[in-house]
């Protein structure tokens, strides 16, 4: 028993070694270098100290950028959830011939380059874009609405880009749901809303949490979409780090912001997954 476990473990470790080495070399090592850089007081990196961290944490502007970035993530995640849940439900309930078409539609954002998708949003949201020309030709608006370079426009674009990350875990969770549970709920006198709230939601909560985790992490770090659709007026953490590092060549400060951003994201994700674990205990499935 002990011997066989040992053999299994050795095999497991040996098979995992290439990936472990890859992570150590290209993920852990750069992260340590990043941390090392962040511990310097001056951009020339001659003296050690925690001043970069203090500079960020006591600077209202920097904290506002961090807060705004985290909040954008919440908005995108909620929008993805509200739009993604009906889509996932539609997919699970659709006949199999329609499912393959739907799956292609769901996966399409993943199969297209981020740059292409983002530029198409610029075309859609621009002053002479599809939305504005349609509304104008219908006589609903006199002057074009400002959609591009607004927070709302950017949230919509981010939600579209990250949608598969929400929908795929939701589909997995919903297809595991036994349809006879819904029939049972209905036969016991529950309307559709009660069935959704009391049966579907609690039993798919682990999938919902997984989808939210992925969407949130992807949305707050989406450098290209944030920059191109958000425009220059709004500053988010990825762009902030980029500016400090490349434009101002202040590598220690850029490194410190990165570490703080990483910490903030980890805290947010831990809260999400804690919710997931609680729901798992609750769901008993």
């Amino acid at each position: 028993m002990a011997a066989s476990t040992n053999i299994a473990t050795t095999y497991g470790l040996r098979l995992a070694a290439p990936l472990a080495i890859f992570y150590a070399a290209f993920f852990l090592a750069p992260l340590l270098i990043l941390f090392y850089v962040s511990l310097h007081v001056d951009p020339e990196m001659t003296r050690f100290g925690f001043t970069q961290y203090a500079k960020f944490l006591f600077d209202p502007f920097s904290l506002a950028v961090l807060g705004h970035t985290m909040w954008i993530g919440v908005e995108v995640t909620l929008l993805c959830l509200v739009l993604g849940l009906p889509l996932a439900w539609l997919y699970v309930r659709a006949p199999s011939w329609a499912q393959s078409t739907l799956m292609l539609v769901i996966l399409l954002p993943l199969l297209t380059s981020v740059v292409v998708r983002t530029f198409s949003w610029i075309v859609i949201l621009g002053r002479q874009g599809i939305v504005n020309t349609t509304l104008a030709s219908l006589g609903l608006i006199d002057a074009p609405l400002k959609l591009l370079y607004t927070e709302a426009g950017m949230v919509v674009a981010l939600a579209q880009v990250q949608m598969p990350l929400m929908v795929l875990p939701l589909i997995t969770a919903l297809s595991k749901l036994d349809p006879s549970l819904l029939d049972a709920s209905s036969a016991l006198g529950a309307g559709e809303w009660r069935t959704f709230r009391k049966v579907i939601l609690p039993l798919t909560l682990p999938g919902i949490v997984a989808g939210c985790l992925l969407t949130y992490a992807a949305a707050i770090t989406a450098f290209i979409t944030q920059t191109l659709v958000g425009g220059g007026q709004m500053l988010f953490m990825p762009m902030y780090i980029y500016q400090q590092a490349t434009t101002l060549s202040n590598w220690p400060f850029a490194a410190a912001i990165s570490i703080i951003f990483l910490g903030a994201v980890l805290v947010a994700l831990s809260l999400f997954s804690l919710l997931g674990r609680l729901s798992k205990g609750y769901a008993h499935a």
């Binding site: 036994d178 006879s180 549970l181 029939d183 049972a184 709920s185 209905s186 036969a187 016991l188 006198g189 529950a190 309307g191 009660r194 009391k198 049966v199 609690p202 039993l203 609750y282 769901a283 008993h284 499935a285």
Partner: protein, 363 residues
């Protein structure tokens, strides 16, 4: 014991000319029958015979193509499942896995807006009815199959449904537990006096539990009668062969009386039987005789013993008629009696002319 003045149970159920099609496939073909209030009826038939389709139509999960379903005298066809007052115990029980046994039972009461105190009282009452008071706080996965079934039954009965539907309730239980649960469900059904339909493909289950049995074949209701009637006086060839064992012999009608006919079996002799549907002299027909209704006689159909199986209280013989057709005979075994050895010539006849049933044969 349930003593409630608001009892909505014991409602009559009427199935009136119900047909249902899935594409070109006719799952139910003009089915009509009445179930009395408080009666336990088994819908019996092989898989794909339409019994589950009928159950889903009564529950409101599918809308039948034609016909009407009424409960307690009121047509329910336009009502969704949650407005029908039909309780269902699903084949896999469909207990909510994230709720305890007590929460499962309370679900329907809460959905109906029952007050908290009344809900708690009713849940306790139902737990007592199914004798699982001590497991109220357990989750479904912590319960055995039989316990899960009893909770599912308690959950369905808690809301006092007008009609209770049980879909293959014993299929998932092992054989020892099955008989216990059959007795248990019968006891609970008697106490609650709920009009109950049990869908099953197991004839023993149907015959032992039901007040009346509805035998289905290919979407048609072949017979609706008491278990004894279904067994002793099958109304159709399908019923005769599906319920219990039967020897099916082919022949030609030779003489006709009011109720009885004489059949010439192809090269094996003659046999007299009861006629159910009109047949004419010279027509092809089949006669069904159950193994225990055949006896060895001095004269009759000549046959040769092929095999004798002593099965404790009975002996079952396989014998071959003069035309080569195999028949089974079952007879009581006296203490110490040994079966006749293979090759022994015998003569066979039905124990009475009513016990051989003649059906027209459609080749």
């Amino acid at each position: 014991m349930i003593a409630d003045p608001q009892l909505r149970t014991a409602q009559a159920l009427r199935i009136d000319g119900v047909s249902h099609r899935f594409g070109a496939n006719k799952a139910l073909d003009n089915v009509t029958f009445d179930v009395h209030g408080g009666e336990l009826v088994a819908l019996l038939g092989p898989s794909g015979c339409g019994k589950t389709t009928l159950l889903r139509a009564i529950g409101g999960f599918i809308a039948q193509s034609e016909g009407q379903i009424s409960i307690g005298g009121a047509v329910v066809d336009h009502l969704p499942p949650n407005k029908r007052a039909v309780g269902i115990v699903f084949q896999n029980y469909a207990l909510f896995p994230h709720m305890t046994a007590a929460q499962n039972i309370a679900y329907g009461l809460e959905a109906r807006g029952t007050a908290k105190a009344a809900t708690t009282a009713r849940v306790d009452e139902m737990l007592a009815l199914v004798k699982l008071q001590n497991l109220a706080g357990r989750y479904p996965k912590e319960l055995s199959g039989g316990q899960q079934q009893r909770i599912a039954l308690a959950r369905a009965l808690a809301v006092r449904p007008a009609v209770l539907l049980l879909d293959e309730p014993f299929a998932a239980l092992d054989k020892n537990l099955r008989l216990d649960m059959q007795i248990e469900i019968k006891r609970i059904q008697r106490l609650a006096r709920t009009t109950t339909l049990i869908v099953t493909h197991d004839q023993e289950e149907a015959l032992s539990m039901a007040d009346r049995v509805a035998v289905f074949n290919q979407g048609r209701l072949e017979q609706f009668a008491t278990p004894s009637m279904v067994y002793d006086a099958p109304a159709a060839l399908f019923v005769n062969t599906f319920v219990g064992a039967a020897n099916v012999l082919h022949g030609t009608i030779r003489t006709l009386d009011v109720d009885f006919v004489t059949l010439t079996l192809d090269g094996a002799g003659e046999i007299c039987g009861r006629m159910l549907q009109p047949v004419s002299i010279g027509a092809h027909a089949v006669v069904c005789i159950r193994p225990e209704h055949l006896q060895r006689t001095a004269s009759g159909l000549a046959a040769t013993i092929e095999l004798g199986l002593p099965l404790g209280s009975t002996i079952v013989y396989e014998a071959r008629l003069a035309n080569g057709v195999a028949v089974k005979i079952s007879e009581p075994r006296e203490a110490g009696a040994e079966p006749l050895s293979p090759g022994t010539p015998i003569h066979l006849a039905p124990k009475g002319p009513r016990l051989a049933t003649v059906f027209p044969h459609h080749a």
